[in-house]
Amino acid sequence: MRYVLIGNSAAGVWAAQILRSLDKESEIIMIAQEAVPAYSRCLLPEYLAGLKKKEDLYIRSHDFYKNNNIQTLFGQRVDTVDAYKKEVILQDNNRIAYDKLLIATGASSFFPPVPGLEGNGVFGLRNLEDAQNILDACRNARRIVVVGGGFVGLEAAYALYKRGHEVTVVEKLSQILPQQFDEKAAQILQADMQAEGIRFILGQGIKEVVSPGLWSRLFGDKGKGVILEDGQRLKAEVIIVAAGIRANTDLVKDTGMKITRGIPVNDYMETSIPDIYAAGDVAETRDIVTGEVGLTPIWPNAAAQGQIAAYNMAGQKKAYGGLIGMQNAVEFREVPAIALGITRPSGDAYQVLSDYVPQKNYYKKLVVQDNKLVGMILVGDINQAGFYGAFIKSKKDISPYLQDIMRKDFSYAYASN
């Protein structure tokens, strides 16, 4: 038996680790485009801020691959997959046969189609190379514009602010973190960063990016012009694009595999083609709260999916219990915040409990539907996030707890016998 895994991040590494624990004999081959051991993308902002060195980003010890007897083909690009012959075709035309294949190719930065948003000084922040390029470009830069007020954008903004740059975040919607948090939570987090000195422009998209003319360049002004929808003009030497992601599905586009925004998989992480599995940011799974199928590009879900894929690849049927697609934890400066599940309910079906004390950076919001907890936002005090999360995941009837659930000391003690 030969397992081939394409991708060497959360999903790929966890899959390899579980496969080896279940199957000591079979061959495991990992193929990845980047020629470095597995590292944490989530730590790239720490690297940007200068708090971590490259080696500190690695998520496994240096002998992980050797100890687990995993063959690595790193620095290799997969061209396509031949699902009939069950072979992976590399760009150098080498063919690698597989019995079971895992697609864990992740995603790439999405660049919105804005004229001029390309070339020198414009970067995504997705991999180590991006981070290194940003650092190089920042060496002589003063002003930085971050396009997108989501997690990646804000993390990048704060990291570069810490290095001493002037940072402006431009977000098209009217609040930061629009996908995870509601307005109140976003305001607390924004105020926290604003107080530090990061500038925000909300409700404005970017119309165009213009390169400096010959004249300005001659006089040493390298900054590009960033023109907003209302005509406002910003200058920046470095522009970071954090406007979302696009799943890396190119390598299977000719296989006949069902592809939507990503690769939809069933509960066993199987794609529409036998013996090919997908996990991580490239896979589309069903969210247990909303029931909707979609990408859930966050680290814990990728890791969990990689594990489930491995069990099934090794022949042990194990279903993905489903995860909460939308969940995230942040702490940009000093206010921690966690969002889980449905945080901005619309309609009468939901009951919202909330406690909002902005001057203390405290906010707790619980979203209840049919006596079940379906979403929450915690800002300031996050210590019980996992406990609330257990209610969301288990879909337990919360009516016995309703009168206590908003208490600041609500904890496991209330649920234990």
Partner: protein, 164 residues
């Protein structure tokens, strides 16, 4: 493999375990020293409606915190079964993914450092300090099989068993 087991009914909420825990994790290895060093306790004594519940990491079979950890710091030792984010080769950065993942709420933010704080089952000691200090025998350090399928599993799993 030995585990710390909790008998909630015996706990009277004296908090001695929290002092013993802080002491055992302080440089000075003393209660007064721990207070001076501001060493936090890793065991919590939670209360609800007049009843008290001591809680520390359960060192789960399939720990959600380990899967959620994005720096690779949180690991489960295959020999001892201990789940910890300290001394595992990678360092904790305080992203709070583990706090978000732990169904018991047994992981906290460290009060002074940007790291997650949790029970390491006193890896440096024969018997965990909280167990040694508990006068009421609400905490015990026993082979899991002796006890596991009895009350502890029942109590601990009442909320979380549905999620596997």
């Amino acid at each position: 493999m030995r585990q710390i087991m909790i008998d909630v009914h015996r706990c009277n909420g004296c908090l001695t375990c929290t002092l013993a825990c802080a002491s055992a994790h302080s440089l000075s290895q003393s209660i007064v020293g721990a207070m001076q060093e501001k060493t936090p306790s890793r065991i919590q004594v939670l209360s609800a409606k007049g009843k008290v519940v001591p809680l520390m990491c359960r060192h789960c079979e399939e720990p959600a915190c380990v899967v959620a950890c994005m720096s690779g710091a949180m690991k489960k030792d295959s020999k001892t079964g201990v789940v910890t984010n300290e001394g595992t080769g990678q360092s904790c950065v305080g992203c709070w993914m583990c706090i978000m993942a732990c169904p018991y709420g047994a992981i906290k933010q460290h009060p002074t450092e940007k790291t997650a704080l949790k029970c390491d089952r006193c890896s440096h000691r024969e018997v965990p300090a909280c167990v040694e200090a508990c006068h009421e025998k609400a905490l015990s350090f026993v082979e899991v099989n002796e006890y596991a399928n009895k009350r502890e599993k029942k109590a601990a799993a009442s909320l979380v068993d549905e999620q596997g």
